[in-house]
Symmetry: D2
Subunit: 291 residues, 4 copies
């Protein structure tokens, strides 16, 4: 299949590589040159602008945030000019509002649009082990199946509106934010009474909180291992903001989110923005008078 | 061993029964007659007041809350008069402040004191399958080993101060409250955008939130099954209050707890106090304009 | 002076009228025809697009929100094409981000820019009784003095950066939101204990809370008079969102704002969006089980 | 009139002095000797225990907190043994729960009980310039009129239940806490954008926030004058806790209070507990990265 690929960050490069490996013809486009060299060496063609991708059967986008999507997919004219019959598969984590706007733009332009944000880190992307949440018309998702098979290890269908996939991604990430914050608070609470955080961590992650969310972030908190961030606190804040924005747009009060956001802002002022998300626990502990 | 047992609610009855089955001599005391009949039939002696338990080697207490502990263990004169060499093993969930007060009272009186709150429901108590969190001097906990073996399936040693066990129990329950609230909020967020809560539940509990806390409460939320409460919303509120009180006493800000408490108060006014804790999700959904 | 005026809502009409009355030559532009007729009858010239205002010495804008500013001042090309020596005086309440963006655009284009959001309602605008908060270079503000004199009864200089005026407006409105919410909560608290809200209102507004913010909104709460909204709950939410956005952009945690926003979202679902802001007290009371 | 007076802190001394000056016969009792010497010199008789006050016609109490009230009025046997026809006038700020408990105890004992917490500082107490909030049966309050006249400059009748006066005091102090926190947040917000806090203070306290609550605390914030605390942050926290406890007991969600409490706990860990309440603004500013 002739596939276009927009956005070659760490995630995008891994995913595009998988599509190449699966035997697809790939034409890629990135705002900077980074990422394009390696893919060119593996056989991808490099395009100058998103408009050069208009004749691909499916164009996958994996851009950093709403602003990048706005620039590459909307301002560029891509969404409006994608021909009927072509499909834009947006795999980035974008706001609910952007999801609906893109859906509308493609609908007006006559082309197809589906959303498929993913769970997983760059290593999982490179190995085709992503968990994919897909939203869109059944026919559109059907066309994506070979792409999903190349990039992911599971596909969850959220609904027939593309935005359903985005809200699922946003809601799940929000649960993660609450888990990180509440575990950080619990750690501060027990530490202040002389209990070892590591012991408490062992207790909770072997009883009712066995999920990877608690195990992974809790481990980093206990080890105070924040420098090799695979997901930064700043990105965590972005996810909370997406939840708040979605809650605002759909009138869903998320009282925890309001509080969690403010904690992140405080943590930024403590210089933790580029540390691992787990470092939120350090900010919480500092507020509790722990060092 | 000659063991005293104070407090014969659903949990206490099960635990006392296990101690009987293990061949101990048991003398029990409850504020009401309920619970005493069944244990008498199984061989326990029934005492009129806590002071009748002063000659037991170990006195286990499993009372409902601080007020009950105050009445039965303090106002009664029990704690002050327990002889040197005797051990009070308090397995109830009490406040951090009460834990420290009892520790102090027994220390002054010359007797030993240990805390061992438990995780698990009445059925687990009856089957000796509780998870026990123990705090106290090593020698005291050593003496409790046969009792723990009869009542529990695991023992976690929190520290040499009895109160360490209480803070661990409180902190873990607080994490549970945050899990319930955040899952409820996430459900409302996806439902308002047309995503089926059950599908979302399947996604999160099979990926990063596999722990029983999410699986059990999430299942009840999805099924809207709140009438056969094994743990009521009112009890959930009590746990959040214990966390807030402990945070207040040790100067640990718990910003999520402040918000979660208010949600529970609102839910009480919706008539959910005696429903399952999972019904908090109904209150959250109602605030979001869902029905 | 030849003055352009963009945006003829209730506030804009009153302000433009004052500028006419002061003997200025006025050319006005609105997205809809509403408002233009009355001003034309009073001698204003009506322009079709913002670009028709480029030869006015000062162009005042009084648009509803960021989106309107974006459309009328940026997308239209107005900001980029305003000639050197001309001054854009933006009197609307916009976000901190928009304030900085406009400052930058005019700086790049070579024209002058100042911000002067106002306090006061349509009646005050019509009577030239607004309180004006101004930010901008001293020379620019000097040029605005005759305009300020025609429209306002006081001018507060926030700083030499236009955005300083916006942040002052946003912060003061945020204080108002907190006053409305906290008074609503206090009313619910006393009412639930059988105290008359009106009596409590009298007490607090004649002792330590004599300011108009408490007197005006408290009066509406007590009278339950919400239908003739001079400022709707929906607009109150917009102000809280502006504070949160400014806090986010400048890394200032505003923990109350996070909570207040969620209350507003809940209130929207109770159908209070177009009621007076004071109706937030009804939502608070309902959560408290009062009717 | 023969009046008993329990509690001779700074407030109590001033109030007792006013009762003496008005020509009453006074018998005073304090847990420590402090305060008694000066009053003895002015003609008061000093009693050893609260029970020595049982034959006074009215016994005024002005104790520090619930614990002091519990010790002096309940554990001592005072409330239970006060004879029929005698009146206990409790002017301390106590919890709603304690207010109801004392009401009940006196009712059972056959004596009368009224509550009359006050607004005002020690200097106002000394000059008889307190603002009094009174709750109780009309006949009981009638008997207190000469006492109120000696101690206060205004009397507000909250209701026929004593506890109504306490909830009014608690709710008004809670509004104050919200004012302090929200002003502190607003100051941080404008300062972070380069606006002088003093200028902002002038603007808001001369427009919509003219009340003394904003003027007094805002002035201290701007001057960073926190060492001569007339009301400490720790006492502010106590007031927020009273509001939360009252909200808990009557099922009134107070979402702001939940957040405000946590801010105070954080501030305590910054060493601000004994500083003026206004120093909360320093903690807020520090979280915002301001120094």
């Amino acid at each position: 299949m002739k596939i276009g690929f927009l956005g070659l960050g760490l995630m995008g490069c891994g995913m595009a590589g998988r599509l190449l490996d699966a035997g697809n013809e790939l034409i890629v486009c990135n705002r900077t040159a980074s990422g394009t060299d390696a893919l060119r060496a593996r056989g991808a063609r490099v395009a100058a602008t998103p408009l050069d991708l208009l004749d691909a059967e499916v164009v996958v986008s994996m851009l950093a945030d709403d602003a990048a999507v706005e620039a590459m997919c909307i301002t560029s004219g891509f969404a409006a000019r994608l021909p009927a019959g072509r499909l834009h598969l947006n795999m980035a984590t974008v706001s609910l509002r952007m999801a609906k706007r893109l859906t509308q733009l493609h609908r007006e332009g006559g082309s197809d649009y589906a959303a498929a944000p993913v769970f997983g880190r760059p290593a999982a992307a490179e190995q085709g082990q992503l968990d994919i949440v897909a939203g869109g018309a059944a026919a559109a998702l059907k066309r994506c199946e070979p792409l999903f098979a190349a990039m992911g290890k599971s596909v969850f269908i959220a609904g027939e509106e593309p935005a359903t996939a985005n809200i699922v991604k946003i809601a799940r990430n929000y649960m993660l934010a609450a888990a990180v914050e509440s575990m950080g608070e619990a750690f501060a609470l027990v530490r202040k009474s002389g209990v070892d955080a590591k012991a408490f961590y062992e207790l909770v992650t072997t009883t009712s909180f066995t999920g990877s969310s608690y195990r992974n972030y809790g481990k980093l908190m206990v080890e105070r291992n924040f420098d090799n961030a695979s997901f930064t606190l700043k990105l965590g804040l972005k996810d909370v903001e997406l939840a708040l924005a979605a809650g605002g747009d759909t009138q869903v009060p998320l009282p925890l989110a309001g509080v969690i956001r403010e904690q992140h802002l405080g943590a930024l002022n403590s210089g933790l923005g580029d540390k691992d998300w787990a470092s939120l626990a350090e900010y919480i502990a500092a507020r509790a008078g722990l060092s």
